[in-house]
Symmetry: C2
Subunit: 152 residues, 2 copies
C-alpha cells in the first residue's frame, strides 16, 4: 500500500483544500493529514478562525482522508514519515523546494494550488471594510482627534 502524508492548517475548509487533498490521495492508496495545532500556529504568530479540534474534525470527515494526526512542531516530519511508513510527502506548490531534504526518507512532491481560492481570500471577501485602506482611516482619525483636542 502506497501511503501519502501532507501538513496544513485547513482554516475555513474550502474547495481549494479539498482539491489538494484529492490530488494527493490520487498519488497512492492511503492519505494521512497532519493538522496544525493552535499552539503550533501561535508559535508562528498565526491565528485561525476555527479552532484545532474543529479543523481536525472536518478534515477527518472528508471522504479521501484516511487518517489525521496533530502537527505541533516543525521537526516531527521525519519521525511521522518513518513511523507511518509513508511513500510520498506532498504539499501545495506555495511550499515548493522547502522540504526537499525529506527526499532522504520518501518521495517529495509539490502540487499546484487552486487559483483564486484561499482562507485569506474568503476572510477578505467577508467585509466591505477590508476594501478601505485602513491606514487612511487611521490618518482621518488622527486628524479628527487633534481637532477635538483643540475644541475641548
Amino acid at each position: 500500500m502506497k501511503k501519502i502524508i501532507t501538513y496544513g492548517t485547513f482554516d475555513l475548509f474550502h474547495t481549494g483544500h479539498l482539491k489538494l487533498l484529492q490530488r494527493l490521495k490520487n498519488l497512492g492508496d492511503h492519505l494521512t493529514v497532519a493538522v496544525s495545532t493552535d499552539e503550533f500556529n501561535a508559535s508562528k504568530g498565526k491565528k485561525t478562525i476555527i479552532k484545532f479540534e474543529d479543523r481536525i474534525k472536518i478534515v477527518s470527515n472528508i471522504k479521501c482522508v484516511d487518517a489525521v494526526i496533530a502537527e505541533d512542531s516543525w521537526d516531527q516530519k521525519e519521525a511521522d514519515i518513518i513511523s507511518n511508513n509513508i511513500s510520498v510527502f506532498g504539499m501545495g506548490s506555495d511550499w515548493e523546494g522547502k522540504f526537499d531534504d525529506l527526499n532522504k526518507y520518501c518521495k517529495v512532491v509539490y502540487l499546484p494550488r487552486t487559483e483564486g481560492i484561499s482562507s485569506t481570500e474568503i476572510k477578505k471577501s467577508l467585509h466591505p471594510i477590508d476594501k478601505v485602506n485602513i491606514n487612511e482611516l487611521k490618518r482621518a482619525l488622527d486628524i479628527m482627534s487633534s481637532i477635538v483636542e483643540q475644541l475641548d
Copy 2:
C-alpha cells in the same frame, strides 16, 4: 434501506453542520443532502460567502453523506421524498414545526443544533468592526459632515 433527506445552505462548512449530518445519518442507512442554489438563496434575500458549486462539492465529500441534490424551490420537497423513496425528513430544530405537513409522506424529525457555532457566528468573529454599532458610526459621520460643510 432507510433513507433520510435534509435541506440546507451549508455556507462556510463547520462542525455544527457536520454534527447535524452525522446525527441525521444515524437515523438510517443513506443520507441525501439538498443544498440550496445561489438563485434560490437570492430569491430569499440571502447571500452566501461560498458559491453553490463549492458548497455542494464540500457537502458531497463528507463521509456520512451518500448523495447530494440541488434545492432551488420551496415546493420541491414532496417530489424529492417520493422520487428518492425517503423514510425520514430531518432538519435542525431552528425549523421546528415548519415542515409538519410532510408527515403525509414520511417521518419528520427536528434535531438539536450545536450551541455556539453557526456560519453567522463565524462571520461575526472575523472582524472587530462588527462589534461597533454601525448606527453610531453613521451618526458620527453625519455630525462630521455637517461640521465640514460649515467650515467650507
